[in-house]
Each structure stands twice: as structure tokens, then as C-alpha cells.
């Protein structure tokens, strides 16, 4: 129920595609920032706690900003 209230505060009528993309961009920025800071790739839970979101959200939102047909960008980015 806490999860529900949080989404209502965040305007729950927003489309999933848009909301996930926004979170996805935050994840990407935070990943780059923490990679520099740590000198290694941050873990999923480090990203989640820095952004104050759940690991579930990290996992689902990360997919939303993947451009389709760009497997090689994903690999070599």
C-alpha cells in the first residue's frame, strides 16, 4: 500500500512508457556518476539506494531507455 501511495503522489496516471524512461535516464546518469566515483561499475542495489527507488524499479526502468536494434551500442557503450 505504501508503494501505491507513493505512485499516487508521483502522479500515477502518467503512462508507464514515459515514467520508466524518466527513471531510466536518472539511472543512466547515476550509473555514470558512481562509475567515476568508485572506479568500477556500481551494483544494482547501490543505484537503487542512491536514487531512493527499489531494485525492481531499477531493473524494469533500465530496459525502457534501451534503443531497439542497438544491441551493439549496448554492448560497447
Amino acid at each position: 500500500i505504501g508503494e501505491i501511495q507513493r505512485f499516487i503522489r508521483d502522479d500515477g496516471s502518467i503512462k508507464v512508457s514515459r515514467s520508466l524512461k524518466e527513471i531510466g535516464h536518472k539511472i543512466r546518469r547515476k550509473r555514470d556518476e558512481l562509475s567515476k566515483k568508485f572506479g568500477r561499475s556500481p551494483t544494482v542495489s547501490e543505484i537503487a539506494s542512491e536514487l531512493d527507488i527499489t531494485v525492481e524499479e531499477v531493473v524494469h526502468a533500465q530496459e525502457a531507455i534501451r534503443a531497439p536494434h542497438s544491441i551493439h551500442e549496448t554492448v560497447y557503450e
Binding site: I4, I8, G12, I14, K15, V16, S19, V55, E63
Partner: protein, 146 residues
């Protein structure tokens, strides 16, 4: 759009989160609102938790199965276990009824499912297990109104 999936997983509580992400990711192509997505994740969570703590009484080496089929904008979800089953379904679905008050269960699982979904069907036999079927129709024309 027609699509279906069926996933079986160990009855460990960390898989509640796995089930939530799995269903969310499967219905994401329908582009629901965040509220709708949260509702579907919540009902799946409730049913999977029931399977683990009631059906299997927390035994971790059992299997829970989650299926989902999408036919146009109709989503049908089932959660199955082969656990102890429910002997009195009418009693079980009463708001606040719980057979495990010692676990601080709210007794609101089935009520939440009935609230968030268009249809809830429970099939259960003592000693055989429980299947909960959840159906919801999503608005298909919403993207035209944006």
C-alpha cells in the same frame, strides 16, 4: 495483440519481487498507466504471497506458477500452487478473514484482488492446491486521447 507466457519458480519469498517485475514487464507493451501497473503488480504479489505462505506454509522447495495471456486489451493472469488448498472459499474471501492471524496477515489479499481486477476466480481443493484467475480489461484507445 496476442501474447502469452508461463513462468514457474521456487516458493521462496524473494521471488515475490521477481513475479512483480515479470508481470510488469509482460504487460508493459499495453502501455498502462503507472497506477494500473502498480495495481496489477500488487494483485500478483498478493496471490504469490498466498501461495508461498498459505499454500506451501513457507516450504521453499515447492513451485509457484504464474501465467499471463494478453488478447487485445484483455489480460488474464493465473497464479497456481499445488499446496494445501482452501476448504472454504466463501470464508477465505471475506474481508479481514485470515487463517494466520499470528503472522499479522491483514486478511485483505482477496479483497485487494477483487478491487483492482474486473474478475477473480478461485479454484481450490484441499490437498491439491489453488488456482487464482484474475482478469482485467485495459483501455485500448487511451493513447488516442493523450
Amino acid at each position: 495483440m496476442k501474447n502469452s507466457m508461463r513462468v514457474s519458480f521456487s516458493s521462496v519469498s524473494s521471488n515475490e519481487s521477481f513475479a512483480r517485475v515479470t508481470i510488469a514487464s509482460f504487460i508493459a507493451p499495453l502501455d498502462p498507466t503507472m497506477d494500473e501497473l502498480t495495481e496489477v503488480k500488487t494483485v500478483v504479489s498478493e496471490a504469490v504471497t498466498n501461495a508461498i505462505i498459505h499454500g506451501y506454509e513457507k516450504a521453499e522447495d515447492e513451485i509457484v506458477t504464474l501465467s499471463c495471456s494478453i488478447d487485445d486489451n484483455i489480460v488474464e493472469i493465473t497464479i497456481e500452487d499445488t499446496g494445501i488448498g482452501i476448504s472454504n472459499i466463501d470464508e477465505a474471501i471475506q474481508p479481514l478473514y485470515t487463517s494466520k492471524p499470528e503472522l499479522e496477515r491483514s486478511g485483505m489479499g482477496f479483497t485487494i484482488m477483487e478491487n483492482f481486477m474486473d474478475k477473480v476466480e478461485i479454484e481450490s481443493a484441499p490437498g491439491q492446491g489453488t488456482t487464482v484467475k484474475l482478469i482485467k480489461e485495459f483501455q485500448s484507445t487511451r493513447s488516442l486521447c493523450n
